[in-house]
Amino acid sequence: MLFLIPALPFFSALVLILAGRSLNKAAVSVIACGSMGIAAAITLVLGLPFIQSGEHIIVQHLWTWMQAGSFSAGIDLRLDALSLAFVFVITFVGFLIHVYSTGYMAEDADYSRFFACMNLFVGAMLLLVLADNLLLLYFGWEGVGLCSYLLIGFWYKDPANGYAARKAFIVTRVGDTAMAIALFMLFQYTGTLQIQQILDQAPQLWAAGNSTIVLIAFLLLGGAVGKSAQLPLQTWLPDAMAGPTPVSALIHAATMVTAGVYLIARTHVLFELAPAAQTGVAVIGAVTLLLAGCSALVQTDIKRVLAYSTISQIGYMFLAWGVGAWSAAIFHLVTHAFFKALLFMGAGAVIVAMHHEQDMFKMGGLRKQLPAVFWVFLIGSASLSAIPFITSGFYSKDQIVWLAWSSVYGHTFYWIAAITGAFLTAMYTFRMVFLTFYGPKASHHTPHAPGNSMMIPLYILALCSTLAGFVELPHTMGHVTLFSDWLQHVLPAVQLQQESTALEWTSQLLAAGLTFLGIYIAWVWVIERPDGMLRFSQMPFMRWLRKLWFSGWAFDALYDEMLVHPFVRTARMNRRDMIDRIYTTLARITEWLHNILARTQSGLLRWYIMGVVLGAVVILSVLIWRVYV
């Protein structure tokens, strides 16, 4: 039954691709959402035995994909606690997003193409998560990349969207290449691509800190960084907002960016063997979450704010990996999936209501006009900015903040970064909320409230993003560890440096305080003293900083200078064909010689004989010269 989970979306995608044109929209919706719903239901059924203990494992060998010598790769699926968490998020959130899309995309001409791509996307992601060998995982990985390309460039008539799609595809490709190399190396050393075998063999093959394993881990990290939009390959994600909003929700919450997180979680044994890589993960996470947080502060496009916030939140997850808090990262991923999908879909509802206006400064005052959207959006925002006690985001993020310090691998620097990130998160989130829903009405459009198909998923997600937090409570508050216990069989528990309830309280209170401070500043900034903030931001340094942050720390410009421009220049140079010119010249010379020779072929017999005579003269002369003179 396991194979049905990825097979259903694939099958639905196939049907939609082949017969999409002849189906009406209702049928398309039923097929697309139905397949996702059944997949989600199957996940629940299969997940039931897992609730008692996370030890349960389902392995299914479908068929042998390829076999060459000792190498064989099968279509093998494997479901354990870790992949179940992912599969659950993907199918469940994916299903909600599909339902939402039926409302969001209702007026789009390419309705069936959209759902075909979405299904394919989810299917590829499920394959990635369920794969038992790295080759199949890589297959899903690339499938996800392809679908992201198709969906980001969904409205292909605008060249900018095509550009964004290409950018996403190419930037992630950098990471994919690194990952492919890592796979080659793993195969070279272990002789297999079965994940479990590799994980079993790795500790015997390599001592901790061995340079080979460090290299492999770093290459895997490169792949994860590319897919999860972390520094330095994060630039594609903000541009990926060119796609329809449900796509953004899907990319950010359920698929694509979580692929990198999954990869690291899957291969955590390798990372544990490579402390340098693990530190790298933590540093990348910490730096990314800060940079992305700053960038999110100054964006004007509501979706770009969310995009940067995703980068920042994934940064939290990476930080958690880096300090060895595996289950905390997964926990954050799950809650993040809920509230980020909620936020994106809420933003989508706002955008639809505003007739596809995405600039926050042109919104405002929507609280009265769209009360339902406002409340769910507020819940999502609260969760994102981790308002204490009532939101899931608080429990998951707080765990990371605390573990960043207290874990064996923890460091004060990580903790500072995490807590600063929390502050920034609260600030940009509520800046967005205030700009969008409070303040004067900035637009003359009369917003129309979204329909039920869009609102019901939002309610469900709002519920989830509040309740999901209570499966894992910190020591200071009840100490419920359902989630991490459950994952314990797949992912090792975090090792604490010291257990100090007092310190933990301090950390939590500080984080909570900073969150509220951030919200207050956002309030001041947007509602109370917008003029003052405007003046403040007009100061030369602030202007420069604003510009820098707005452009995402100018990474795009940097890459343009470093990579794109030299490449374009080389391409230009090549268009004039330096190398080809050599061959053209050769051809020209040949042609020229041919013409000369063709002129000698006059058809006059006597000339030919003359040639023979001359040849004889020359040969004899040479002969005489060599032999007798």
Binding site: M610, V617, L620, Y628
Partner: protein, 175 residues
């Protein structure tokens, strides 16, 4: 025999030169027959009487008769002689002749370099020739027979006067 040789050699060279320089083709042919006859004499002097008779019969006889018949068939008269005169200008033949003379010089030089002492003329009897012809050279004999056969068939085929055999490239122009 030295005197004989030089006389016949002189005749041969002279008559060949005349062949080359004649404008009337019949004259040229007659001179060519003289030249061939003198070469036959030289063959005889070099101890190859059988070859000498063959030379006379086949070359001077059969082949020349063939060419003469041919010329008669084409009915070439004084017109062609005039044309020949017109074609044969000093400017045209000087340069090729010069090269050929150079070639000749080189050949003669090479022959003169060969210092093998002349051991005198040894006669090779027709019997010996026959033995080696049908001994080691039997395959070559067969081949030359094939060649002659091909020559006959080819000549018959080419000699047929059929307007249809016009080459397709030549058809466009009225001939």
């Amino acid at each position: 025999m030295g005197v004989f040789f030089y006389i016949t050699a002189a005749i041969a060279v002279f008559s060949t030169a005349m062949v080359v320089t004649r404008f009337n083709i019949m004259h040229a042919l007659l001179y060519l027959i003289v030249s061939l006859l003198s070469v036959a004499v030289i063959f005889y002097l070099y101890g190859a009487p059988y070859m000498a008779s063959l030379e006379i019969i086949v070359y001077a006889g059969a082949i020349m008769v063939l060419i003469i018949f041919f010329v008669m068939m084409l009915n070439l008269g004084p017109e062609s002689t005039r044309l020949e005169k017109q074609w044969l200008k000093p400017g045209m033949w000087m340069a090729p002749a010069l090269f050929c003379v150079i070639l000749l010089g080189e050949l003669v030089y090479l022959i003169a370099q060969n210092h093998t002492p002349v051991t005198g003329i040894k006669e090779v009897t027709p019997k010996e020739v026959g033995r080696s012809l049908f001994g080691p050279y039997i395959l070559a004999v067969e081949l030359s027979a094939m060649l002659l056969m091909a020559g006959i068939v080819g000549a018959y085929h080419l000699g047929r006067q059929q307007p249809k055999t016009l080459h397709r490239f030549l058809q466009s122009k009225p001939s």
